[in-house]
């Protein structure tokens, strides 16, 4: 009668998949590099400066009509995109939301302000019943600072975490966790290159949460590894890792599923504004769960762990080197 996502007492040998998972991770990372340098990230105005206007019309208006109307009044590059609305399918109430993005024109704030007014007037005249949902304009100066702060936040978070795990465990664990972390952040950036979903300030927040979550997962597995290393002093490291992952598997899957339930709800019903954000999170949870099982442990296995947790046991020959002998 109980719902069981994972059967009792799994004995999966996760390292037998290590060739496949290593291959998969390599492909994803190379893919990210290619996508990053060929397609690049679709930076929002937070990071590149410029103006974004989001409007809603009662009737459907073709994207081309906006372009035609605006190309007459704006010198800079204008991009018009339609925002899809999955909620429409559920509620039956379609709304026609369009996002207009205008490149930064010069550095003069007054020019930018006039431009917004002109665009708003033109659109109000052009389409009856138009509603301006959101208008954002960011100058070049601030956008540069926002990029810096974003990158700094991610680097600091990873650094702080590296330090904390080193403090609580051993450096090998720390390296394993951080490699898994960088792997996750990297591939998340890759998916943003491929899908061309707007990369803005809130996505940085999402990535940092992924950092936290992925780590959460890895730490739980490592905690069990530490415990089992103490308990089964003669068991090989590979078996200890396998045992620990299997023992925590049920919990790993449970937590991922509950978090995904919450995020998927938010993705479908939470509105346009945070859809990019929740997309990043969903992707990050999936990749974070995968990496804590397949990436972090593999690194740990490769690096090996010294097992003289208690000085008194040293004489008993519990060094990792002795185990296989």
């Amino acid at each position: 009668m109980r719902l069981k996502l994972v059967p009792n007492d799994t004995k999966v040998d996760f390292f037998s998949f290590s060739k496949i998972s290593l291959g998969l991770s390599s492909v994803l990372i190379i893919g990210t590099l290619i996508a990053f340098f060929t397609m690049g990230l679709n930076f929002g105005i937070d990071f590149r400066g410029g103006t974004m206007i989001m409007v809603e019309t009662p009737e459907e208006v073709a994207v081309g009509e906006y372009r035609d109307l605006l190309s007459g009044v704006v010198d800079g590059d204008v991009t018009v995109t339609e925002l899809s609305d999955p909620a429409a399918a559920l509620t039956g109430e379609a709304n026609h939301v369009i996002m207009v993005r205008i490149e930064q024109v010069g550095d003069d704030a007054a020019v930018q302000n006039d431009l917004i007014k002109i665009v708003k007037d033109t659109l109000s005249e052009g389409f009856e019943g138009i509603v301006f949902l959101q208008t954002d304009s960011v100058g070049a100066k601030v956008s540069g600072e926002l990029i810096q702060a974003g990158v700094l936040a991610i680097v600091l978070a990873v650094g702080a975490v590296l330090f904390y795990i080193w403090l609580r465990f051993e450096w090998q664990f720390s390296v394993g966790a951080v490699v898994a972390l960088v792997h996750d952040v990297f591939i998340t950036i890759g998916i943003f290159c491929v899908t061309q979903i707007e990369f803005n300030l809130t996505i940085i927040a999402a990535i940092l949460t992924i950092v936290g979550y992925s780590l959460n997962d890895t730490v739980v597995v490592f905690d069990r590894v530490r415990e089992n290393l103490r308990r089964y002093k003669t068991m090989g490291l590979k078996d200890v890792l396998n045992l620990s992952i299997n023992e925590t598997l049920s919990r790993t899957i449970m937590t991922s599923v509950t978090t995904l339930i919450a995020l998927l709800t938010l993705y479908f019903l939470g509105g346009d504004v945070i859809r990019g954000f929740t997309f990043a999170m969903i992707w990050g949870i999936v990749i974070g769960t995968y990496s804590s099982i397949f990436v972090a442990s593999v690194i740990l296995l490769r690096l090996g762990v010294k097992r003289d947790w208690d000085k008194t046991d040293n004489a008993a020959g519990t060094q990792f080197a002795d185990v296989d002998a």
């Binding site: 007054a110 978070a157 927040a205 940092l208 780590l215 730490v219 995020l263 709800t265 019903l269 504004v273």
Partner: protein, 554 residues
């Protein structure tokens, strides 16, 4: 692990109770908001109207009335980040020193010879003296003009630094004086911006200084950031100048002591004006929108006594000649003086719309900004989007919540219900903490709460999975539960501390939406650890001792 002393039990339950009590006002958001507004008005001495009495009665006084502030993205409004050109003020300051320097040097004319001001960079005043031999004396005299700066860091320094290059005397603002001036300029700008926003009658604006020379203005409920910028972006420096001549040549040589300003409405019309103003906007005490005798929008103004006297004398002496009303280096009108204007009041006509005259009156009443400001960032959220976002956020939160609750019961049965009680208390506590610390809830903040719902069960899952393992290992119910809590603790702490590190860094570095997210995520971590470690343990322990089950299923 399962024994709780009485006071510990009491403490845990009273914390939960406090959480519930302090989160309730948010369930009656609009009612409490109205009551708070009405009470605030009454507190300022306004006599309550019957409607206000009703509003006040709707929410009893003894109940907590702190609410979660809704961010701009949830209620609609405008956000502006502007930079104040603090260095603008330096030039004015040096200009104002020139007459003093000149007079001081003239007194020792025999030693220094002729005194002439030279063109110089914006941050210095260069004076050439006729007799280079008199330089030591000149320096001595000029140094006496400088005054010590009173600041915490600039102790011992003077407001100006004086040096010389051959026969040229250089007068510069000192570092300490510049810092002190920047600070004054920012204080003034903040004050003026606050007055202008208040005059426009908007609700709960946020006006904050950010960094050295920036101001963040957030006004909920205003239609657009452009509207807000019209109000605060203009320097609004008003002055009354005498007209030398009207011309169509923009490059005309103005002559010493004169300036050329364009006409605000007519293209190609310029005025040569005397630089020194007859009266300036500083001396206005009131300005109101009105209509002139032809029914066109205009602005009515009144000077303070000193300004009124000057204006009266000037008009009496210059009947028949034109004078110019200049706003931010543009001539808005140049009427001819018909008669002596005593009493110190007058009317500014120009090519105004009603909106413009209303705005000009506000700007004149609030005063001029000490320096120009430029926009770095402007954002507007329409009220429709705000409402949509709240609705979407509410629906998503409720559904996510329900799904997780059902999922937990399906997986862990009775223990799932225990975890759910903790989860509900957890969200309640997040809201009460947000209300009490006066944090602002934004859309990413709601996402943070939803994420916490997903992750809060993690601690319980860790514990329950451990209990399952212990039961499998043949331990009795009480022992299994005790060991489950004990052994899961280190994983829970490590996992949550790492996430908390991320949240703290987000809060420290992030701005706007990122910060809102960090706050709810951070609070969520704290409350979820509390509810998982103490609240569920207390519930489980109470249940265990009451029922004393022979076997349990988790």
């Amino acid at each position: 692990m399962l024994q709780f002393s009485i006071w510990k039990k009491g403490l845990i339950w009273s914390l939960c109770l406090l959480g519930i009590v302090f989160s309730t006002p948010n369930l009656f958001y609009s009612k409490v908001e109205k009551a708070n507004d009405a009470r605030a008005l009454v507190a300022t001495g306004v006599v309550a109207t019957p409607e206000m009495e009703v509003d006040i009665a709707a929410w009893p006084e003894f109940m907590p009335s702190m609410l979660v502030n809704l961010g701009l993205d949830l209620r609609g409004g405008a956000h502006l980040l502007v930079e104040v050109a603090v260095e603008d003020v330096y030039a004015d300051r040096l200009d104002s020193m020139w007459p003093e320097v000149r007079d001081a040097l003239r007194e020792i004319k025999d030693d220094v010879g002729s005194v002439r001001r030279q063109n110089s960079g914006p941050n210095e005043l260069r004076v050439k003296i006729g007799e280079p031999e008199g330089m030591p004396k000149a320096l001595e005299v000029i140094r006496d003009l400088t005054r010590p700066v009173v600041t915490l860091t600039g102790a011992g320094s003077h407001d100006f630094e004086v040096s010389n290059e051959g026969d040229i005397l250089i007068f510069q603002l000192s570092e300490a004086e510049m810092i002190a001036m920047d600070d004054r300029t920012m204080q003034q700008s903040l004050e003026i911006i606050r007055r202008r926003v208040d005059e426009a009658g908007t609700r709960e604006p946020t006006i904050q200084r950010q960094g050295a020379d920036r101001v963040l203005v957030q006004v909920p409920g205003i239609g657009s950031a452009e509207e807000l910028l019209d109000l605060i972006g203009q320097t609004a420096k008003l002055s009354f100048l005498s007209v030398v001549q009207q011309t169509s040549n923009a490059d005309i040589r103005a002559g010493t002591g004169n300036v050329v300003y364009p006409d605000a409405d007519q293209e190609g019309v310029y005025y040569v004006l005397e630089r020194v103003a007859v009266v300036t906007g500083d001396q206005l005490v009131d300005a109101q929108p009105t209509f002139d005798q032809n029914g066109r929008p205009a602005v009515n103004f009144r000077f303070n006594p000193a300004g009124g006297r000057k204006f009266g004398v000037y008009t009496a002496e210059n009947i028949g000649s034109p004078f110019a009303i200049v706003l931010d280096e543009q001539v808005i009108s140049a009427p001819t003086i018909q008669s002596h204007i005593p009493g110190g009041s007058g009317i500014i006509t120009g090519n105004f719309s009603v909106d413009e005259s209303t705005r000009l009156a506000i700007l004149l009443r609030a005063g001029a900004l000490p320096a120009e400001i430029s926009v770095l960032e402007q954002r507007t959220v329409g009220p429709e989007l705000g409402q949509d976002s709240i609705d979407a956020g509410k629906t998503a939160t409720v559904i996510a919540f329900a799904l997780v609750l059902v999922f937990m019961v399906l997986t862990y049965g009775l223990f799932g219900i225990f975890a759910n009680i903790a989860l509900i208390l957890n969200v309640t506590m997040i809201f009460s903490l947000l209300s009490v610390i006066g944090a602002t809830l934004t859309l990413p903040g709601i996402a943070g709460i939803v994420l916490t719902i997903g992750m809060a069960v993690d601690a319980n899952v860790l514990i329950f999975e451990r209990i399952r393992e212990e039961l499998k290992g043949g331990k009795g119910p009480a022992r299994a539960i005790e060991l489950g809590y004990q052994k899961a603790l280190s994983a829970i702490i490590d996992a949550n501390v790492t996430t908390l590190i991320a949240a703290v860094i987000l809060f420290a570095i992030g701005s706007g939406p990122v910060r809102g997210f960090a706050v709810t995520l951070g609070l969520g971590i704290v409350t979820s650890v509390f509810t998982a470690i103490w609240v569920t343990r207390l519930i489980v322990a109470t249940w265990l001792f009451a029922r004393k089950p022979k076997t349990i299923e988790v």
